[in-house]
C-alpha cells in the first residue's frame, strides 16, 4: 500500500446522484492482484475514522419547532428573514383568494432573493453591457 503522505496526489472522487465514490490510485508496481500501476480502485488501506470530509451546498434543515431561531439553528442569514416573511404572506393570501396581494408579496420575495449576495467567498464579476 502507498504511504499516506500527500493523499491528494493519489486519491480522487466522483459521484452519482446519491453517493460519493472515493478511489485510490494503485502505486504498487509489483502487485500480485493484477493491477496496473496508475489505475484507480477502492481504498484498501486500514479504515480511518472521519477519514473523508466533504463540503457541500445543502438545503436548509426542516423547521420542526416554532421556537428555534432561523439564523443560529438553521443557518439562514438574518438578512433573509424578511424574505421568508414575504413568502409566507404570499402563500397565506393566495389561500385566502387574494391573488393580487399574494402576487405583490411573491414578487417582493423573488426580488429580495435575487438581490441577495450569494456567498461571501464568491468571485464577483464585472457587469459588461452588451453592445
Amino acid at each position: 500500500m502507498a504511504t499516506r503522505d500527500k493523499p491528494n496526489s493519489y486519491f480522487a472522487w466522483y459521484n452519482d446522484d446519491d453517493r460519493l465514490a472515493i478511489v485510490e490510485k494503485q502505486l504498487d508496481t509489483t502487485s500480485s492482484k493484477g493491477i496496473t500501476s496508475g489505475e484507480y480502485d477502492s481504498f484498501y488501506g486500514t479504515t480511518v475514522t472521519d477519514g473523508i470530509r466533504m463540503t457541500i451546498h445543502s438545503k436548509y434543515e426542516d423547521v420542526t419547532v416554532i421556537t428555534t431561531a432561523l439564523d443560529t439553528t438553521h443557518g439562514l442569514d438574518s438578512s433573509m428573514h424578511s424574505s421568508v416573511l414575504d413568502y409566507v404572506k404570499s402563500r397565506v393570501l393566495e389561500d385566502m383568494g387574494q391573488l393580487e396581494q399574494a402576487q405583490f408579496f411573491r414578487n417582493r420575495f423573488e426580488v429580495s432573493i435575487s438581490k441577495k449576495r450569494t456567498r461571501r467567498s464568491g468571485v464577483r464579476f464585472l457587469s459588461v453591457p452588451k453592445l
Binding site: 472522487w13 460519493l20 481504498f43 473523508i52 470530509r53 451546498h57 416554532i66 431561531a69 432561523l70
Partner: protein, 103 residues
C-alpha cells in the same frame, strides 16, 4: 427571528392561522431559497472504510463543493483531493456494488 415571530406577524395582519400550516410554509420558503441561491454550505465527515467505494451523501445535498482526505501520516490534516474525470483509469470499470474490487 423564530417561526413564532413569523406566526405573530402574520396573525397580526391576517388573523389566527394554524401553526403547523405556517411552519410548513416556512419550510417551503427555506427550500425555495436554498434551491435558488445555493449559498448554505456545510461540511460532513465519514469514515474511510477499507474496500468500500461508495459513501452515502447527506440527504439534503444539492451539490458537492470539495472532498478532502485525512492524512494520518503526519499531523492529521485534511487534504483536498481532485475530482476524477478520466473514468477509463478506473480499475475494472465501476463495480457499483458498494465494495471495492480488492476486498
Amino acid at each position: 427571528m423564530t417561526v413564532k415571530d413569523i406566526i405573530s406577524q402574520v396573525e397580526m395582519v391576517y388573523g389566527r392561522q394554524s401553526h403547523t400550516y405556517i411552519m410548513q410554509l416556512v419550510n417551503d420558503a427555506l427550500l425555495e431559497i436554498s434551491s435558488k441561491k445555493q449559498h448554505y454550505t456545510v461540511s460532513a465527515t465519514a469514515d474511510l472504510i477499507k474496500g468500500q467505494r461508495w459513501y452515502d451523501l447527506p440527504t439534503r445535498t444539492i451539490d458537492i463543493i470539495k472532498v478532502e482526505i485525512l492524512d494520518t501520516s503526519t499531523n492529521s490534516r485534511y487534504h483536498l483531493i481532485p475530482k476524477l474525470v478520466d473514468y477509463h483509469s478506473l480499475l475494472k470499470g465501476d463495480p457499483d456494488t458498494g465494495t471495492g474490487d480488492l476486498s
